[in-house]
Assembly symmetry: C2
Homo-oligomer: 107 residues x 2
DNA sequence: TAAATATATGAACAATTGTTCATATATAAG
DNA sequence: CTTATATATGAACAATTGTTCATATATTTA
């Protein structure tokens, strides 16, 4: 048995939905995972994920706005990483869950 | 410091992205939360969430396909709830995170 | 200052997706 | 068997969203 009931206030539901839908886009999720534990420059992300720098930048703008990632400029580069440890642990929890799920996959 | 690196295999990334984008639609998230801990019939969900039964049913089909919710027919009704405890704990973790986030909101 | 590199932005386009409406199926009751 | 209620489904439409391309801004180096 888990908690007695899930009664999250409407604003929080909206907030969570926004965060999930932003994280739910495959390229964005790959960007998040790529710079979750280490800082990554825009260009490096583009090369590694085989996406155009423009597309990466557009996605990064959303991720920044949602306070999922943060950017730090160093010369001509801007390095991105998780906005805070809270985001890091939330994403880590999710990846843990998908890995667990595949273990006990009785399908 | 969290884990040393996030290197989730591509299939798992796709799987996680799908799950997140399905959960990220506001009405679907409300449906999930409404029947996470307790079974709810389609009609009851429609009334409570102020959505048409048809729309609820369409969303439920996706949630079923993604193995997030499962349905059980009892007479004319079909009762939905979380597909398993794994889903329940994953969603609970997420709601916990948004609640924590608002506490330490230094914005 | 001019050229080169890295990133960001806006508009246009393409693709996906949420919603509605009409209709179909399932179960129960008259 | 017919009617009523609950849920599901398919097609059409509307809205949102991901991507591309051209261009702008920022920073460094010649």
């Amino acid at each position: 048995m888990y908690g007695p009931m899930v009664d999250l206030d409407p604003d929080k539901v909206t907030e969570l939905a926004e965060m999930l839908s932003i994280m739910g886009e495959p390229n964005r999720l790959r960007i998040i995972l790529a710079c979750l534990e280490t800082e990554r420059a825009v260009g490096a992300l583009a090369v590694d994920l085989e996406l155009s720098p423009s597309l990466v930048s557009h996605h990064l703008r959303l991720l920044r706005a949602a306070r999922i990632l943060k950017g730090r400029r160093a010369g001509k580069n801007v390095f991105y990483t998780a906005a805070d440890d809270h985001v890091r642990s939330m994403v880590t929890d999710m990846t843990d869950h998908v890995m667990e799920a595949s273990q006990s996959d009785h399908a």
